[in-house]
C-alpha cells in the first residue's frame, strides 16, 4: 500500500452521508483512489480522537464509517500533500479530513498477510512502488539500500549481472559455507537468491544472484524484516531476516497499459594510477634475467630509450557499456477478476570486450473471486537470462583471468594491440596471456530459465474464519558452457592452453512449498480484538548439478565433448525437506496496546532423526502512548502526532546443510584411472548427534511522529546471540578428516538502527523530503570450538602481497583480515604480540624494515556504521532525488595495488632510483639513520647489491601495505524526472508520461587508492569478502527512462 507515498492522491468522498442512530453520528461511505482513479485498498480510515471507529478500505477503495458529525476523518498513511484532497457530499463542509503521514502504513508480514503498521510489535521497513520504479536502473537490493537501515548491501563488481550481497544485522553463522543472507519471499513463497559458483573453474566468472531474475518494474512494494523477528513465522531460513516482495496486481477498472523504455550507458567509475616513467623490464634492463623478452615493469627509464611510449592501459582496456530495456504491462480489473501482465526485455553490453547479458521477463498475475467466499489467484513468473561472460580471475588460477592479466600489464606496451596478423595471440612474455585475447576467446555462455508460480485458494466460510491454501513452485535450470581454445596449429602461435577445454554445467533447482492456513477472528469489534492463525507448511527442495569437462581435442577448433579425448564428470545433488506447524495469536486493546505470540515446530530432513523436531516461540508487545487520554488531551496533535514503543523476543531454530550427519566415501577426482574406479574418504566428518542451532534475538523500538507526520523517527535497538552453531570445525588432518560438523560456538550481534523522515518544505508546488537511515552493528565471535580459536575462510590464502586470510577468531568480530606486516620495534623483542599499527617499525642492520611472517590481524572487513541519505525535491512537475551513501570503516585488500607494486607499475615504485632513510628503530632501541637504495641490483653510489630491490623483496610481501580503509561517501544515484500533467481528460489517449534522467555512482570520495572499493574477489554467495581486485571494477552509469501510461 505504500504507493500512497506518491505525492498526489485524490480523495473522493462519494455517495451519500446518512443520518445515524446515535444523535450525532452519520454514516459516511466513500471510495479512495489515487490520482489515476485507481482504488486504494487497505487504507486505514478512522475518526480522530476516536480511533476505535476505524475501518480499512476494500478492494475498490470503498469504506463505510459511522462518525460523529463534524468530526475529523483521518486517512492513515495518506499522501504528504494534503492540498490535493477534496471533499464532496452534503456533509462535506462539516467533515474535516486529515491525512496521517505514516510513511509505511501497511507492511506485509508472514504468509502475505497485510498488517497495519500500528499493530506491529517488530521492526520492519518498506519501500514503495514509486521508489522501486524511480526511473533508474537500480536492482531491488540497491533500492532497499537507501531506504532501510540494518542492511549492508555490497556489489561484487561491474560486469553485467554481477552478484550483489546483502547482510542484515550482521552475520550470525560461523560456518564458512553458511548462507548469511536474508530469505527472499515473493508474494508469500520463498524465492531462491543463490549465487551459484558452479564447479571448479567456473568460479572465475561473474555470476548473478538469482534475485536479479525479478524485474523491479513488476514490484509493487518491498517489506524488510531484519533480524530474527520474522522468523518465528517464516521459519528456519528467516533467521537472517526476510525481504518480502509483493508484485503488482491489477487495480484499475479500465485496462491500463504502461510502456517503459530505458537506455543507459556505463563505464568503469574509478581507475587507480600507474607509473609511466619506467618501461617493461628487470634491473633497469629491457629484458627479464637471461631471457630475451621482458617481464615486470622494472625496466629502463622511458626518457633514456628512443621511441619509448606509455599508454593508459587500464582506461584503454575497458570499453563503454550500454543497456537497453523495454517493459510493457497491462493491468485491469472487473467485478470478479483482476489481472496484471507484463513483458520486458533487456540487452546489456558490459565494459569488458565481449561481455553481454540479455533478459526476457514475463509476468502474469491473476485473481478471480468465484463467490463472496471463495477466491482464487495465480501469480506466474517466467524469465530467460542469457550471459556471455569472461574469466575474470577470481580464483587462484591467476594466470587465466582477464583482470589478472591486465594487472600484470606494463604501461610501456599497448594493451589494445592483442592479435597478430594471423589472428593468434600477441604476447610480450610467454608466461602471460593477453587480457583482450582471453576475453575474446575464453568464453562462458550461460542460460537460465526460471519459472516461479504460485497458486492459491482463499475460502471464508464464516465472517470470522478464513482458510488459505497456497502452493508455490520455484524452478530453474542454468546451463553453462565454457570453451577454452587450444592450439590452432598455426606456426609460432601462443595458444591459451596446451590442449583446449570445454566444460558443460547443468544445474537445476526445484523448490516446492505448500501452505495451509486457518485464520480466526473471534473478536473483531469493541476495544479488545483477537486474531489467531494456525497453519502448516511443507517444503521440498532439490538441487542437481552435473559437470562434464573435456580436454584434448582431435579435430582442432571443434570444442565439443564428443571430440575430447579426456573427459571428467562431476555431480552434486541435494534434497532437503521440512514440515512445520505454527500458530500466531495477536490481540489489541483500545488501539493502544498490541500483543503477539507465535510458536513454530519444524521437522527438518537434515538433522538426525532423534533431533529433527524442534520448537521455537516468540512474543512481542507494542504500546501506542500517543493514545493515552492524558496525552491526547494535553498535547497538540499538530506537534506530537503519534508515539509508539515496542519490544519483542524471538527464538529461531536452524537446521544443518544436507548430508552433514554421516561419513562418506567419494570418487577420487582423477578416477576412473586405467579402467578402474577409486574411492577415498570424504574430508568432512559428519555427526549423528547434530541438533538445531538457536538464535535468540531481542529488539526494542521507539516510533515518534511530529508536526502532522512531517517528521517521523524510528529507533530500534537489537541484540541477538546464536549458539550451538552447526560448524564445519577445522580439525587436524591427521584425525582422518579436515572438518568436523558439530554444534559448537556462538556469535553475538548487537546494534542500533535509526530512520528519520523529514519534510522541511511543504508547499503547494514545492516540497522537499529527506530520509536518513543509520545503522551500526557490532559483532563478536563468543566462542568457536574446544581447542580451536580460529577458522580460516576458504579461498583466501592466495595473494600477491604475501599470505592473506579472512579469519574468524574467538573474541573478535566477524571477518578479520589477517596477513603479514612490518615487524614493530618492541623493547623486549617480543614478536608474538598483536599488530600495533602505531608502533615504530623495526629496522634491520641493512637499513630496511623487516617482514613479520607471523600472520596478524591487520584489518576488519565489517563497516563501523552505514548511512543512507535520500533526498527528494519536487517543484511543479519536476522531481529531483538523490541518494548519498556513507560507509564508515571496513577495510579492503587492494589487490590491484599489490600487483602494481610487484610488477613495478605502481606509482609508489617511482622512487626506485632514489635513497631513503626508513623511519624506525633498530632492535637496540636506537633510531635508524642508515640510508638505503630503493632500486634493483647495484647501488650506483655505494656499489652495494640490493638484489631485486626493496619493492620486490619487502614491500610487496607485507600485506599490511595493501589493506586499506575503504570508508566512502558516494552519490549512489541521482534522478531528475518530469511528469507533465495531462490535460484534456478522457478524450486524450495518454494518461500519464514520465521522463527521467539519472546517473549512478558518479561521485565517490574515499581514501581507498585502487578501483572503486565496492567489488569483491568472491561472489555474493561467499562469506569471504574484503578482497578487492581481480574482477570487473564497479561502474558508473547515466540513463534516460521514458514511461507512458495509456
Amino acid at each position: 500500500m505504500s504507493f500512497l507515498m506518491k505525492g498526489f492522491i485524490c480523495f473522493l468522498l462519494l455517495t451519500s452521508v446518512f443520518p445515524s442512530f446515535s444523535q450525532n453520528r452519520v454514516l459516511i461511505q466513500g471510495n479512495i483512489t489515487d490520482k489515476h482513479n485507481n482504488p486504494i485498498e487497505n487504507l486505514r480510515v478512522y475518526v480522530k480522537n476516536a480511533a476505535q471507529i476505524s475501518t480499512l478500505t476494500g478492494k475498490n477503495g470503498e469504506f463505510e464509517l459511522r462518525a460523529p458529525e463534524g468530526s475529523t476523518i483521518v486517512l492513515s498513511g495518506g499522501p504528504m500533500i494534503s492540498k490535493y484532497i477534496t471533499l464532496r457530499g452534503s456533509h462535506a463542509d462539516n467533515m474535516k479530513v486529515i491525512v496521517e503521514n505514516a510513511v509505511k502504513p501497511v507492511y506485509i508480514s508472514a504468509f502475505n498477510i497485510k498488517k497495519e503498521s500500528r499493530n506491529s510489535c517488530h521492526t520492519y521497513y518498506t519501500v514503495s512502488e514509486e521508489e522501486m520504479n524511480r526511473g533508474n536502473q537500480k536492482s531491488i537490493l540497491r533500492t532497499l539500500q537507501g531506504k532501510s537501515p540494518g542492511l549492508y548491501v555490497s556489489g561484487s563488481g561491474g560486469a553485467p549481472g554481477h552478484s550483489i550481497r546483502v547482510i542484515m544485522r550482521g552475520e550470525n553463522s560461523l560456518n564458512v559455507s553458511a548462507d548469511n543472507q536474508p530469505l527472499i519471499v515473493v508474494d508469500g513463497i520463498p524465492f531462491n537468491n543463490y549465487t551459484d559458483p558452479g564447479f571448479g573453474s567456473s568460479e572465475n566468472f561473474a555470476f548473478s544472484n538469482r534475485l536479479s531474475d525479478i524485474d523491479p518494474m513488476n514490484v509493487k512494494s518491498v517489506s524488510v524484516m531484519p533480524g530474527a523477528s520474522a522468523s518465528a513465522l517464516y521459519g528456519i531460513k528467516a533467521a537472517n531476516g526476510v525481504i518480502h516482495i509483493t508484485t503488482k496486481k491489477g487495480r484499475t477498472s479500465k485496462p491500463e497499459f504502461q510502456y517503459t523504455n530505458r537506455l543507459s550507458f556505463e563505464k568503469v567509475s574509478t581507475f587507480p594510477e600507474q607509473q609511466k616513467t619506467y618501461m617493461a623490464g628487470w634491473y633497469g634492463k629491457p629484458n627479464y634475467l637471461s631471457y630475451d623478452f621482458p617481464f615486470h615493469a622494472y625496466g629502463p627509464r622511458g626518457d633514456t630509450v628512443q621511441g619509448a611510449k606509455f599508454y593508459d592501459n587500464l582506461q584503454n582496456f575497458f570499453q563503454k557499456g550500454a543497456k537497453v530495456y523495454n517493459h510493457l504491462s497491462m493491468s485491469g480489473k472487473t467485478e470478479k477478476t483482476s489481472y496484471y501482465g507484463a513483458v520486458s526485455h533487456s540487452t546489456h553490453h558490459g565494459v569488458i570486450h565481449k561481455t553481454k547479458q540479455q533478459g526476457l521477463n514475463i509476468k502474469l498475475n491473476l485473481n478471480y473471486d468465484i463467490s463472496d467466499k471463495i477466491s482464487l489467484f495465480s501469480y506466474n513468473h517466467f524469465n530467460l537470462k542469457k550471459g556471455n561472460r569472461v574469466p575474470e580471475g577470481n580464483n587462484s588460477e591467476i594466470e587465466s583471468g582477464v583482470i589478472s592479466q591486465l594487472l600484470y600489464f606494463p604501461t610501456s606496451i599497448d594493451v589494445t594491440d592483442y592479435k597478430k596478423d594471423d589472428g593468434t595471440m600477441k604476447i610480450y612474455t610467454p608466461w602471460l596471456d593477453h587480457p583482450l585475447y582471453v576475453a575474446e576467446k575464453h568464453t562462458l555462455d550461460d542460460e537460465v530459465n526460471r519459472w516461479f508460480n504460485t497458486f492459491g485458494v482463499q475460502y471464508s466460510p464464516l465472517s470470522w474464519l478464513q482458510f488459505d491454501f497456497k502452493y508455490g513452485r520455484d524452478y530453474y535450470t542454468d546451463v553453462r558452457e565454457r570453451v577454452l581454445p587450444g592450439p590452432e596449429n598455426i606456426a609460432r602461435e601462443n595458444p591459451l592452453s596446451a590442449d583446449g577445454e570445454t566444460e558443460q554445467t547443468n544445474i537445476s533447482f526445484h523448490h516446492q512449498t505448500t501452505y495451509l492456513l486457518a485464520t480466526f477472528n473471534p473478536v473483531t469489534s469493541g476495544r479488545f480484538r483477537l486474531k489467531c492463525i494456525t497453519g502448516n507448511e511443507i517444503q521440498k527442495k532439490r538441487y542437481v548439478a552435473s559437470n562434464i569437462l573435456g580436454r584434448d581435442f582431435d579435430i582442432p577448433g571443434f570444442y565439443h565433448i564428443d571430440n575430447a579425448s579426456e573427459i571428467y564428470v562431476r555431480n552434486n545433488t541435494f534434497k532437503q525437506r521440512s514440515v512445520s506447524f505454527f500458530g500466531n495469536v495477536s490481540f489489541s486493546w483500545s488501539d493502544m496496546v498490541y500483543g503477539e505470540i507465535t510458536g513454530r515446530n519444524d521437522f527438518s530432513s537434515t538433522l538426525p532423526k532423534q533431533n529433527r523436531s524442534f520448537f521455537y516461540p516468540s512474543a512481542g508487545a507494542a504500546f501506542v502512548f500517543s493514545e493515552i487520554p492524558f496525552i491526547r488531551d494535553n498535547v497538540s496533535e499538530n506537534f506530537f502526532t503519534y508515539g509508539k514503543i515496542k519490544a519483542s523476543v524471538s527464538m529461531v531454530g536452524k537446521d544443518a546443510e544436507p548430508y552433514r550427519t554421516g561419513i562418506y566415501y567419494r570418487r577420487h577426482p582423477d578416477f576412473p584411472f586405467n579402467n578402474q574406479q577409486g574411492f577415498t574418504k570424504s574430508d568432512n566428518l559428519g555427526s549423528g548427534h547434530l541438533k538445531p542451532e538457536t538464535t535468540i534475538s531481542k529488539e526494542t523500538g521507539l516510533e515518534l511522529r511530529f508536526l502532522q507526520n512531517r517528521l517521523t523517527t524510528h529507533l530500534t535497538l537489537y541484540h541477538s546471540v546464536s549458539k550451538d552453531l552447526i560448524i564445519d570445525v577445522p580439525v587436524s588432518h591427521t584425525s582422518g578428516f579436515q572438518t568436523f560438523t558439530t554444534n559448537s560456538g556462538s556469535i553475538e550481534n548487537k546494534g542500533v538502527e535509526c530512520l528519520l523522515n523529514f519534510r522541511p518544505v511543504n508547499r503547494n508546488t514545492i516540497s522537499w523530503d529527506i530520509s536518513v537511515n543509520l545503522s551500526k552493528n557490532r559483532n563478536k565471535i563468543l566462542s568457536i570450538a574446544d581447542g580451536i580459536d580460529r577458522i580460516i575462510m576458504p579461498g583466501t590464502s592466495y595473494s600477491y602481497g604475501g599470505p592473506l586470510y579472512v579469519i574468524l577468531e574467538e573474541g573478535k568480530s566477524y571477518g578479520g583480515i589477517y596477513g603479514t606486516s612490518y615487524r614493530r620495534y618492541h623493547p623486549t623483542g617480543n614478536q608474538n604480540e598483536a599488530f600495533r599499527e602505531d608502533a615504530p617499525l623495526l629496522i634491520d642492520e641493512s637499513g630496511f624494515p623487516v617482514l613479520d611472517q607471523n600472520i596478524k590481524r591487520i584489518g576488519n572487513i565489517s563497516p563501523d556504521w552505514l548511512c543512507g541519505i535520500q533526498n527528494e525535491l519536487r517543484f511543479h512537475n519536476f522531481s529531483l532525488s538523490f541518494l548519498l551513501d556513507i560507509k564508515n570503516g571496513g577495510d579492503i585488500y587492494n589487490q590491484a595495488e599489490a600487483f602494481f607494486v610487484a610488477q613495478g607499475t605502481s606509482t609508489k615504485t617511482l622512487n626506485r632510483d632514489r635513497y631513503k632513510i626508513f623511519e624506525g628503530m633498530h632492535s637496540d632501541g636506537s633510531p635508524n639513520t642508515s640510508q638505503v637504495y630503493l632500486g634493483q641490483g647495484t647501488d650506483p653510489k655505494t656499489g652495494n647489491n640490493y638484489g631485486d630491490g626493496y619493492y620486490r623483496n619487502i614491500h610487496r610481501k607485507v600485506a599490511e601495505n595493501f589493506v586499506e580503509d575503504a570508508s566512502w561517501l558516494r552519490l549512489r544515484d541521482i534522478t531528475l524526472s518530469w511528469s507533465p500533467k495531462i490535460t484534456g481528460q478522457k478524450s486524450l489517449f495518454l494518461k500519464h508520461i514520465d521522463v527521467a534522467v539519472s546517473a549512478g555512482n558518479i561521485l565517490l570520495w574515499t581514501n581507498f587508492s585502487g578501483f572503486d572499493p565496492e567489488s569483491s574477489q568472491y561472489g555474493a554467495g561467499s562469506n569471504t569478502q574484503g578482497f578487492q581486485g581481480r574482477v570487473t571494477p564497479a561502474v558508473s552509469y547515466v540513463s534516460l527512462q521514458t514511461s507512458v501510461n495509456f
Binding site: S290, A498, S578, T661, D670, H733, G736
Partner: protein, 474 residues
Amino acid sequence: MFLTLHKKFIVVLWLFLFATSCEEFLDVNTDPDKTQQPSLNALLASSVYNTSQVQAEVAKVTCLYAQHLASPNASETDRYGPERLEPVWSMIYNTMTDLHDIILFSQEYNSPHYSGVAKILLAFNLGCATDLWGDIPYTEAFSGEQNLQPAYDSQQIIYEEIIRLLNEAVADLNKSYSKYPLQHCLLFDENRKQWKKFSYALMARYLNHLSKKRSYQPDVILQYVDSSFTSNDDDAQLFYMEGQENPWKQVVDGLYDMGILGGYLSQQFISSMKGETKEIHDLDPRLKYITDTIAGGDYAGTRNGEPPPKDGFCTLTYNSWYALPEAPVLLMTFSELKFIEAEVAFYAQDNERAFKAYINGIEAHMIKLGVKDNERAVFISRILSNISASSLSVRDILLQKWIALFLNPEAWTDVRRNNYQYPGMQPPANSFLGDTYIQRILYPESEMLTNRKNIPTGVSRADELWWNVNNGAQ
C-alpha cells in the same frame, strides 16, 4: 468447537495421513553422490594412485634440496625458505586414512590379503612423511571423532611401527584364505609374491636409514634384501597413460604452454652427469635420456638459488624418460635395492658383495632408462677401471644411488644421511640458512591451527632428524 463434525473428520484424516508419511518424507538425508560402503578395491586403487602422486609432489620440492632440480627463478623454496608442504600433509594423511580403513574393513570382511597390501602402503607413506617432518601423529591418528587432536609420535616410534607394519603385511599375505582376494589394483596386480618382495625391500630401505644408530644390523637387512626384488621387473611403480599423464609430463606441459615454471635441472646434477667428478670423467650416457642439450650441443644446469644461466639451461623435456606421458612414477626400484645392498654389505665388510651390488645398481638403472647395451658396457668398463671392490667407498655408492634416485623423494633422505657430501655440492646461493644445509620440512599451518597442544615446538629447518643423529637415542 469451531468445526463441524464433517470438518473435524477431514482434519483428523489429514493428520493421520501426515503422521504416517512424514517420517518417510523426511528420510532423504543420505548423499546420493557418495557412498558409505566403498569396496576394498576402490579404496586401494585410490590409495595406490595417491601414494604415487604424493611421491611426485614431494619430489618437486625435495629434489631442489637434493639438487636434482633447481628453481627457474631462484625461488624461496630453492633457497631454503620456510617450506611446509601443506598440501602434501593433507594428501598423505588422507591416503593413510584410506589405508587405515582398508585394514579395518578387511578384518571385518576376513580379507587379510587386502590388509597386507594396505599395511605395506601405509608403511611406505608413513616413511615418506616422517622423513620430511620427523615426529608425526600415527598411533592416535585416523580415529575421527574419538580423537580430533592426535598426539605426535617420535620418529623412533614411527620407524618401529613401519617395520612392524611390514612384518605384519608379510604374515597377512601369507594367509591362505582371503574372502575378497586381491584384484587388479594398479600396482603388481593380484600377485601376492610381488607385494611381499616390496615389503622386504621397504624393510631394507627403512632399516638402512638407521645406519647411524646402534640398533643397525647389516646382516638382518641383507636377509631382507635376499627376499626382495630380483630384477627391474619387480619395481614398485605406477604407470600413467595418455590422457592421465605422468605428473612430470605435466610439469613439462607447464614449461611449454602454461607459463608455469619447473623441471629445470640443477647445475650439480648436470656437472655430475657430465663426469666432472673424481671417479668418472666421461659423459654419463643416461643424461640424454633425462634431458636435451642446449644450443651448441652441450648440457648446462641452473645453480640452485640463482637464475638460470644466460647461455641456456637444461630442463625436463618431452624426450625425458621420466616425463613421458606413460612413464611410471617409481615408488621403489630394484636399482635402489641394489644400492642399499651395496651400502649394507659395505658396512658388513663384505666388499665383494658391495661392489657387485653397486655395479648391478648402475646397470639396472641404465636398463630402466633404455640405455643401449654398448653404451652401458662402455660406461661400466670405465667405472671398473677406476673403482674396485677394495677401493669402493660409501660415498661412491651414494653418488650413484643419488643418480639412480633422480626425481625420487628418497634421494633427499640419502643426501641428508650422507651429510650433503657429494663432489662439488654446495648450499644454494643466497640461502636463508647461510652455509647450513636444510634438514627438514616445517609443520603445516593447519596443524598449528587445529592441533596446537601437540605440535612439537622450536623445530628449525636446520635441525637434523632423529635418524641422522649419530647414536642419538640408543
